[in-house]
């Protein structure tokens, strides 16, 4: 039987090009159940999901001109994508592993986690996949019937065409927006040995966060971004003399499905950099909230995003670039990425927002976590997801120093938000 294959979507193209010998862009979505996970049932659930979510069970292959995603061998057991948990999340996904599978399913005690190479999908896609996996697992385990809702899909249906499409191509503007941005502050530190990733998770009541955000008249994302900016400004002031200080900017991924009509399960998000320059003067948290709110609102418009999409799509359509061999493309793309990819932001705050699970599922699922890996040129990252009245703020780093985490979480505490902190150390 012919194996199905998919072109990489516009955002996915960059990830194989910039993956290096010790860094790959992998992220995780996990659910903690109220019971110990049974491996055999999980494997069965993974097998059952395969016909419905074909774009997740893929390998990354190299063509002459482009990379592409190819379906895993038909009939191949899902056993090999089930993996044991390591001492830290998001272990390096090598080129050899991506050639076998871009998806990992990891079970450990009460937790089911999926880790995906970013070329496959983005955070929203991974959330839908994981929730469906958990739903199927619970269906088999407890003989439940979980009705489809916004997140849960009916496994009886075939995969929808709009779920596998590249929404970037359809929604690009006629002209591309510029990429130039001033270099922003990047945290430095002593690297952890063997690529160990320190994960610090702060769990707060969603209600308290919302209340605090509303006190400043902004959304939770903007509120967290403002607190993070304040923390980064403090950390920068502690570590750098004035002349070496730089603007502090937060990279906020924008889910484009909210701006454009799209139901794709592949990548459809772009990031905006918002922040302030601490060299110009001191900011209060209120001023930061207001500034970041305005910047985000001005940036995350449909037209502006269409322009940013076009900046990626137009070179992709250039006939000369298209016939260049993939190796040359990688070189060019990684050069461009080095120039403009991560220079504009100091840290990511990827907030997926509230996750609504069907009533039948909710009693079995204790918590959801969303974890993104450290960036290539800076060591910290932050990702947020809310479920069941709790918000999990996962901060990952591959350096030893935890100054930023300490600043950030204790700022939240000082603002009257109770935060419970856990770590994988």
């Amino acid at each position: 039987m012919q194996k199905k294959w998919y072109r990489l979507d516009t955002a996915a193209l960059i990830f194989p090009a910039i993956a290096s010998r010790n860094w790959s862009n992998v992220f995780r979505f996990s659910a903690t159940l109220r019971e110990t996970v049974d491996l055999r049932t999980l494997q069965q659930a993974a097998e059952d999901l395969r016909p419905r979510f074909p774009t997740f069970y893929v390998t990354l292959r190299k063509g002459f001109f482009w990379y592409y995603l190819e379906e895993m061998k038909p009939g191949e057991s899902c056993e090999r994508i089930l993996r044991q948990e390591y001492a830290y999340p998001l272990t390096f996904m090598s080129r050899a592993e991506r050639k076998k599978s871009c998806l990992r399913i990891i079970a450990w005690r009460n937790r089911i986690a999926v880790e995906l190479f970013h070329s496959v999908t983005d955070g929203s896609g991974a959330r839908i996949f994981l929730c469906n996996l958990v739903a199927r697992y619970l269906e088999i385990r407890h003989d439940l019937r979980i009705p489809p809702n916004g997140i849960i899909r009916s496994l009886a249906d075939p995969p929808q065409k709009e779920e596998t499409e590249d929404s970037f191509l359809k929604n690009a503007a006629a002209a591309g927006a510029g990429r130039r941005e001033e270099r922003s502050f990047h945290l430095r530190g002593r690297r952890t040995p063997d690529g160990f990733k320190n994960l610090t998770t702060g769990i707060a009541e969603t209600g308290e966060l919302l209340e605090a955000a509303h006190r400043f008249g902004v959304s939770v994302t903007v509120f967290l971004a403002a607190v993070m900016t304040e923390s980064l400004i403090t950390v920068q002031a502690m570590n750098r003399p004035f002349r070496r200080r730089r603007p502090v900017k937060i990279t906020v991924p924008v889910n484009l499905r909210r701006l454009f009509p799209s139901g794709t399960l592949r990548n459809f998000a772009l990031a905006l950099n918002v922040g302030v320059d601490p060299r110009f003067g001191e900011y209060t948290l209120e001023e930061l909230c207001r500034s970041l709110d305005h910047q985000l609102k001005a940036g995350a418009t449909r037209q502006n995003m269409a322009g940013m999409i076009a900046a990626n799509v137009i070179p992709q359509k250039n006939p000369v670039l298209r016939v260049a061999p993939v190796g040359l493309k990688n070189l060019v793309m990684s050069l461009i990425y080095r120039q403009s990819g991560e220079t504009g932001g100091s840290i990511n705050i990827s907030n997926l927002g509230e996750t609504a699970l069907p009533e039948e599922m909710a009693p079995h699922v204790e918590r959801l976590d969303f974890i993104i890996g450290p960036q290539r040129s800076y060591p910290n990252n932050c990702s947020v997801v809310s479920y069941g009245g709790k918000t999990c703020i996962s901060m990952i780093r591959n350096i030893r120093e935890s100054d930023l985490e300490q600043q950030f979480f204790s700022s939240l505490v000082r603002l009257g938000i109770r935060v419970a902190v856990e770590s994988n150390r």
């Binding site: 010790n22 044991q84 390591y86 450990w108 690529g195 610090t200 979480f409 770590s423 994988n424």
Partner: protein, 228 residues
């Protein structure tokens, strides 16, 4: 349970706050259940060693091929000797530092000079020349002393880089006169054919660097005029 320093709530059973490391003392301590198991993935060693190994193998192979080919063809080394010593020299100059994570320059500079001197000695003896003792040896020797002094001073002396570089430039000018002197006594050429030009250029640069290093006002002035 709370951290007394950060104010965040901690999980029961942890020994210290994950944020600030402040120890937690709890008389009713129960063992912590780890969120992640202690299984570490295989290490990915990061070093220049693979390249060093590959280059070593390449050098040894090249040397062996030349050695065997020469022996088979002539029954002796002949031109193979130049190639073999050349490979050895290249190895010491370019491959040897790769075995170290931070190759110390003040060690490798003299080692490289010794290697170059030995290579020149071999070439001189093999080709029946009489230029080693009176030309190649003093020139490499003085170069070795100067370069070692320069890299050590730059490495260990904090500040005063302009003075060090200025002094070095002036010495470099003097060194070119010595080179021409050794050239003239070895090969019988006339003195002061070319060295005066290099002395002039090096001297002007050196004095300029020295002066701007010694006079802070001038240092500032140059900075002000040429900042970028």
């Amino acid at each position: 349970m709370y951290c007394v320093k950060c104010g965040v709530s901690l999980r029961e059973g942890v020994n210290s706050c994950p944020l600030c490391g402040t120890p937690v003392w709890n008389p009713d301590q129960i063992a912590e259940e780890k969120d992640y198991p202690v299984v570490l993935p295989r290490e990915h060693e990061e070093s220049g060693k693979p390249a060093a190994i590959a280059l070593t193998v390449l050098c040894v192979l090249g040397a062996l091929i030349v050695f065997i080919a020469c022996l088979k063809r002539y029954g002796e080394l002949r031109w193979g000797g130049y190639v073999l010593t050349g490979i050895a020299l290249g190895y010491i100059l370019f491959v040897l530092p790769r075995w170290f994570r931070n190759p110390p320059a003040e060690v490798f500079v003299p080692v490289d000079h010794v290697a170059i001197a030995l290579f020149l000695l071999y070439t001189c003896l093999k080709s029946g020349g009489r230029w080693f003792l009176s030309f190649a040896f003093p020139v490499t020797g003085i170069s070795c002393l100067m370069m070692t002094a320069l890299v050590s001073l730059l490495k260990y002396v904090r500040g005063g880089k302009l003075i060090i570089l200025g002094g070095f430039m002036i010495l470099l000018g003097g060194f070119t006169i010595l080179i021409e002197f050794f050239e003239s006594i070895t090969f019988g050429t006339r003195m002061f054919q070319w060295s005066l030009y290099t002395v002039a250029v090096c001297g002007i640069c050196g004095v300029f660097l020295l002066v701007s290093g010694l006079i802070p006002a001038m240092h500032q002035h140059i900075k002000k005029r040429f900042f970028y």
